[in-house]
């Protein structure tokens, strides 16, 4: 369409030759003004054929000049020279331009350039002459010796030429003294000035690169020495920029720069080949490149490093080394690639654990490793890898199920000690893990060899103290504490642990109705609490002990303790926690003491309360429900107070740790009023509100969460992004079953259908059953017409009364069976067979 229009408009336009001279002249001038130099040239030529007017000659000269410059910009140097030459032929109306001579020099037509230069020397402006002289100087140094013969002897190009040439020769031959001497002769206003700066920069290149760069900065970008300047600058490029900058540089510049950087020609050739693979070569291409040059790189290096290129595309990529001409991967190497892939994909942790275990089995079977050998250490490291990466044993309490993931990880870590027993941190990690689960037998089993190996290690002794305390062996614990204090007299930890242990034991004795024994424990606690850090706690426990025998004295002691604690919310909370620990509810205790319900804490009191809660949780204890109930109302009221963003966040995090969801929700909601959609509070509010049942969330709340996710992403708040995704992702998955309330899993079957419909809704249940849209429509119709009971019966019949037929809910037995199978140490099974290795890649 547009082509047609253009053709039509071209036909309608009158031919320039048919125009009268005035119209043609104005058309020529318009073309000149608009930069349409070809038209301007044609029009002025037509005009000059009619009448040789001086102004038209000038116009033509301008048009030639403009066209020449355009062509130079396009890199059409020869065509540009033709324009300059046409212009030059116009005679006096077109005085010589510097660019015409410069172009001749660029094209290597030195003799012609010199002729024009000599002609124009008297007419060109001084700056144009200086620039041309600099270009002639660069040209002379490039080997055009006739320049000196054809220029006037007093021309600075000639006068300083010899010294500049000497400097170049001296630099190339490595004679720095001669170079200095030659450069000293060349004055600042010489046409060789830029060259001098570059030679000086070259002298500083290796030792003082900053100074070299400063010298190069004095050379203007349009200098005649610019190509040399760029090459030297490239040689100074930082390592991490070098590859991309080399890719942009021309061949000659690159070779010059790389020679300066000490790249031998073979390396440069290899770089050229590598560059052809692209900026980010695909792993397979890179692997082939490595194998092509394995003669230089070394077989071992290529195999070892090349294996890292197989990770993402395994198992298909396992064949690449063989295809590239290398040896096929061994079984262990294949398994290693599989384990790397599993770890990188962060998928099923069981699968990752199995991969590392399998690799350990291969390493075990290939050699029988001598203790302390590299192979033994390799096996130990592989066995510890899963725990090291997941940090599972650092915080997990041992699961009661023997086939749980943490159990499997702990088993592997403990096995690793057979190969590498010289690892105290591994012993300590395992002991702490078992102590968290009160597994004293297992802890002692590990402690014994650790104590035998490192009898004077305070960390091992502390673990021994903890084990003794956990077992109620306080004498033994005191013995370990003394050993620790003998090694480290200012060790506070040992004392504090003992005080806490005696206090815990005192509480236990109160529960056992043995106040006499409780007092003994309190005395022992007092003996170790030299600085009185636990004075208040001891007073409260003592008050509770006395309360058992002398209600009045006990109550008085506890009231006094409350006064010392400021009679505020925090003080009451501390007493309440101690009361709960001896089996008394705070409500009953405070009633006995005649103390009113706690007031809503002020800002300071709340901060102190949160600190107390954190300390309580850090000791491994939980918030007793009776304490939570008693203090909840007062604490919730504190959410109305003024807090900073960080204080609100800290409050929410602490309450989350306590599983104290009502006040947590209140604090999060209060914060959301001030910071609308703040991701961290949106997440706290949602989690506190739905308490592990996100599928019950209203659409409004889910949308609010989605907005918070967007905001978290914008703010780069990755922790909130992660947390919000964890909540939102299950809600997005159409067939993901919601977790069932404890005990309900056992009841899955047709009988559980009404409960499931109530729990997740009919729509979701039908989705989970994977029914077609039509089927779902029909079932809903059944419900509408015949009622819920009929629908339940129909669904029951459809799933055939088999609990496992409800596919999204695998039976717990089945799941456990699967894990047992995966966790099995089946060293002798056929899983080691080569083909079975590929099973690592689902």
């Amino acid at each position: 369409m547009s082509k047609k229009r253009n053709k039509r408009s071209a036909r309608n336009k009158a031919s320039p030759a048919a125009l009268p001279s005035t119209a043609l002249e104005s058309s020529a001038r318009e073309a000149l003004q608009r930069g349409r130099y070809r038209d301007a040239i044609a029009h002025f030529k037509l005009l000059l054929k009619r009448e040789p007017q001086a102004t038209w000659h000038e116009g033509l000269a301008q048009a030639y000049e403009g066209r020449a410059r355009n062509l130079i910009e396009k890199g059409m140097l020869k065509e540009a020279l033709v324009m300059w030459e046409n212009r030059h032929r116009l005679g006096d109306v077109a005085p010589l331009r510097r660019d015409h001579i410069a172009l001749l020099l660029r094209l290597g037509r030195v003799r012609e350039a010199l002729e024009l230069f000599n002609q124009a020397a008297g007419t060109l402006p001084p700056d144009a002459l200086a620039a041309l002289r600099a270009q002639l100087a660069a040209c002379y140094l490039s080997g055009e010796t006739e320049i000196l013969e054809r220029l006037a002897p007093e021309d600075p190009v000639v006068v300083h030429g010899e010294a500049a040439q000497a400097a170049l020769a001296a630099y190339c031959s490595g004679d720095d003294a001669a170079l200095e001497q030659a450069l000293a002769v060349i004055p600042f206003r010489s046409p060789y000035r830029d060259g001098v700066q570059i030679f000086k920069a070259l002298q500083h290149l290796a030792e003082q690169p900053d100074q070299a760069l400063a010298l190069l900065a004095r050379v203007p970008a349009e200098s005649a020495f610019a190509p040399l300047h760029q090459a030297v600058e490239l040689a100074l490029a930082p390592e991490q920029e070098l590859t991309s900058r080399l890719a942009d540089a021309g061949e000659i510049t690159r070779r010059f720069a790389l020679t300066l950087r000490g790249w031998p020609p073979e390396r440069q050739a290899l770089f050229d080949e590598a560059r052809r693979l692209g900026d980010e070569p695909p792993p397979k291409a890179l692997l082939q490149f490595l194998y092509r040059h394995r003669g230089r790189l070394g077989d071992a290096w290529v195999q070892e490093r090349g294996r890292r290129l197989l990770i993402d595309a395994a198992p298909q990529s396992l064949e690449w080394p063989r295809e590239a001409g290398g040896r096929p991967l061994s079984k262990a190497e294949m398994v290693q690639v599989g384990a790397w892939q599993a770890e990188r994909q962060r998928g099923d942790p069981w699968y990752t654990l199995q991969c590392w275990e399998l690799l350990a089995q291969h390493l075990e079977s290939n050699h029988s490793p001598a203790p302390g050998s590299d192979q033994a250490l390799r096996i130990a490291l592989v066995l510890r890898r899963f725990d090291q990466q997941s940090d599972l044993l650092a915080y997990t309490t041992p699961s009661p199920e023997p086939d749980a993931l943490d159990r499997a990880a702990a088993h592997l870590v403990e096995r690793s000690l057979d190969y590498d027993p010289d690892a105290p941190q591994v012993y300590l990690r395992l002991i702490a893990y078992h102590l968290r689960g009160k597994e004293l037998k297992a802890a002692r089993r590990l402690l014994e060899p650790a104590l035998a190996r490192w009898p004077d290690d305070t960390q091992v002794l502390t673990a021994a103290l903890d084990t003794a305390v956990a077992g109620g062996a306080f004498k033994k614990a005191a013995g370990f504490a003394r050993r620790i204090l003998a090694l480290d007299p200012i060790n506070k930890t040992a004392r504090e642990r003992l005080v806490k242990a005696h206090l815990a034991h005192a509480r236990k004795q109160i529960c056992n109705a043995r106040p006499d024994l409780a007092r003994q424990e309190l005395e022992r606690a007092g003996a170790w609490d030299q600085h009185g850090r636990f004075r208040t706690r001891r007073d409260i426990v003592e008050g509770l002990t006395t309360l058992a025998t002398d209600a009045q004295a006990g109550a008085s002691a506890l009231r006094a303790a409350n006064q010392r604690l400021g009679d505020g919310f925090t003080g009451r909370l501390i007493i309440g926690l101690e009361a709960a620990a001896v089996g008394r509810t705070p409500k009953a205790l405070f009633a006995d003491l005649g103390l009113s319900k706690p007031r809503t804490p002020d800002r300071e009191d709340l901060m102190a309360c949160l600190a107390q809660l954190r300390e309580h949780l850090d000791s491994g204890a939980r918030l007793p429900p009776q304490v939570a109930t008693y203090f909840e109302t007062a604490l919730k009221g504190a959410a109305r107070l003024e807090f900073s963003f960080q204080e609100f966040e800290s409050a929410c995090e602490t309450l989350r740790r306590c599983h104290w969801e009502t006040p947590r929700q209140a604090f999060a909601q209060a914060a959301l009023k001030r910071w609308k959609d703040a991701p961290v509070f949106a997440w706290h509010a949602f989690e506190a509100k739905y308490q592990g049942a996100p599928w019950q969330a209203s659409t409004t709340d889910v949308r609010r969460l989605e907005r918070a996710l967007e905001q978290a992403r914008e703010q780069g708040d990755m922790r909130s992004v992660q947390r919000l995704l964890e909540v939102l992702e299950p809600l997005m998955m159409p067939f993901e079953p919601p977790p069932l309330p404890p005990g309900l899993e056992q009841e899955l079957g047709p009988d559980a259908l009404p409960m499931l419909i109530d729990l997740v809704g009919l729509d979701k249940l039908l989705d989970m059953l994977g029914l077609s849209r039509e089927m779902k429509r029909q079932l809903k119709e059944v419900e509408r017409q015949v009622g819920r009971q009929a629908l339940v019966e129909l669904l029951g019949a459809m799933i055939g009364g088999e609990p496992d037929a409800l596919l999204p809910f695998p039976s717990p037995e089945g799941r456990a069976e699967g894990r047992r199978h995966r966790a099995q140490d089946d060293r002798s099974s056929d899983d080691d067979a080569p083909l079975n290795q590929l099973d690592l890649f689902p």
Binding site: S142, P227, E239, L260, R267, L270, H293, R296, R378, R385
Partner: protein, 97 residues
Amino acid sequence: MNDPYLTLGVTAEATDADIEAAYRAGVKRSPPERDPQRFEALRRAYEALRTRRDRLAYELFDTSPPTLDEALDKAVPTSAPQRPDAAQFAALLRGER
């Protein structure tokens, strides 16, 4: 991470002492105030290879793929800086790139 053996200029058979010596020599050549990036690379390489345990862990668990730069360094290491010859100067002074 780049191959720490190449960064330190040691072989796979290097001992703890060799590695420490290579690190110290590298730091002497590229102190942090002069070349912080190189120093950081040296430090990371040293951390990765300091003990036998570290070296085996690197061999077993480092999954960073080799780069072309590493391959170049391994195949033909850079030598001391060279001076280009007159012909290379001439080409650039003629305006060739």
